[in-house]
Symmetry: C2
Subunit: 276 residues, 2 copies
């Protein structure tokens, strides 16, 4: 007669595993000796080896019992099922490895490399850290929602940055946002910005700035994030509005006040509609 340790060693499993199988009802509880120790016969070794063979092949314990007594058909079906599961698990890990390979510390964490490059370019141009961070968060939100459109967007952005006036626009913007909201220079910056915007609209067409085909809730979310990140932005937006420009992520001309009622600049209520 064998003790649990001997049984386990013959079958190549741990003692804990044997007890686990008892608890799961996979292996019948043997007799106990006068000390209460389990005592096994050689048949238990064979049974345990058969169980172990299945579990080593990835059969879940719950299915092991049925499979030990299954006919050929049932067995083959179960095996095919388990094989599919294993294959799916392998593919999942492979996908994870690919994701993992694309990860970088810090800024680039939730961003594709082209966005990281774009942010680096902004820094290179001397754009303030605060504005770069706000940009980054916007891109994080965008990349999460529509990753397939990021490349196209980035290309457009880089093209714009190639124009020194747009680069200048960013620098001006960054400087404006570094002021305290009540700094008198903010008004000057707003003048400059409004002038930039107007010039851009004239040169590139009235739709150039507002050509942001994102879902309104996303725009609202990105605006909200920007306003949280950039304390001076709220004041700046007010000032810009007085100068004929409204919005943030999507900049537009202030529409003529033909309709009654106050136009809420950032309708937070619409924020509450996700894309499910």
């Amino acid at each position: 007669m064998l003790t649990i340790g001997e049984l386990a060693s013959y079958a190549g499993v741990s003692v804990r595993t044997v007890r686990h199988y008892h608890a799961k009802g996979l292996l019948p509880e043997p007799e106990r000796d006068h000390l209460g120790y389990r005592r096994y016969d050689a048949g238990a070794v064979v049974e345990l080896i058969r169980i172990r063979t299945l579990t080593r092949a990835g059969v879940p314990l719950a299915r092991t019992r049925e499979l030990l007594r299954a006919g050929e058909e049932e067995f083959a079906a179960a095996v095919a099922d388990i094989d599919r599961r294993l294959e799916a698990e392998i593919r999942q890990r492979q996908r994870r490895r690919e994701h993992l390979a694309g990860l970088t510390a810090g800024d680039g964490l939730a961003l594709p490399p082209e966005v990281a490059g774009y942010l680096a370019r902004l820094r290179e141009l001397g754009v303030g850290e605060r504005l770069v961070r706000a940009e980054r968060d916007g891109w994080v939100l965008l990349a999460a929602h529509a990753p397939e459109r990021v490349a196209e967007w980035i290309a457009r952005k880089r093209e714009q940055l190639a124009d020194p006036r747009l680069a200048g626009f960013y620098l001006t913007l960054g400087r404006a946002l570094d002021h305290a909201p009540d700094d008198p220079r903010t008004a000057e910056r707003a003048d400059e910005l409004a002038a930039w915007l107007t010039r851009l609209a004239e040169e590139k067409g009235e739709d150039y700035l507002g050509d942001v085909d994102l879902e309104p809730p996303l725009i609202t979310l990105m605006d909200a994030r920007a306003l949280d990140t950039l304390p001076a932005a709220r004041r700046l937006i007010e000032l810009l509005r007085e100068r004929g420009w409204t919005g943030w992520t999507k900049l537009e001309r202030v529409p003529p006040p033909t309709q009654r009622g106050v136009c809420e600049p950032f309708p937070t209520s619409s924020l509450r509609k996700g894309w499910s």
Copy 2:
């Protein structure tokens, strides 16, 4: 402000996941509204997306917190570590799939295909089911302990079966074991068997039958399993011993009684020593 469901939907995770991250301290608990509902700002979406990015790449939650704030070196080291883990997991599943492909229902469950073939051959020869089962269990034990030696053993066995006298030996044995232990024909079978054994020893050499280089504990275990499976075997072994043959898995001439004391036929005490 966002509800938990909106936050979750923006970040592409489940509500349950968000609460889980709160419980784990990965995502800070936000303010509550007058109903006790959590209310999130847009920054929480960004944070959650960053967490999600890591977990989707296979980073365990426990490491996610550190990685969010890690420097390049630490990050790269952790990523390498996790990548190794994923690779190991993939290899494990691949090995399982290979195991799985080799599985068959019933007999062949814990046995390599060549053993299954050998057992089928025994059945073909008309060897009784009971003996085949006993053989099978012996092979299960053997294959579990020394899988690399199974092929060689099977080759030898098949070679032996090619000799019609050995095939006949098996048939005789099988018939003997199908009798009740006290069946008078058992003695006749024992005579036949002893005659077979003696002839074999003469023809193939005295060591042919006993040339079983297995560890004694394994032999004892296999003997024990055979005796449990074959109720008539115990009596048959006694009768064979009277006729000059002892053992089962490893058959030997009864040694001359030079030493005093009774020779225990199956020292169950030695069964208690596994291979650890």
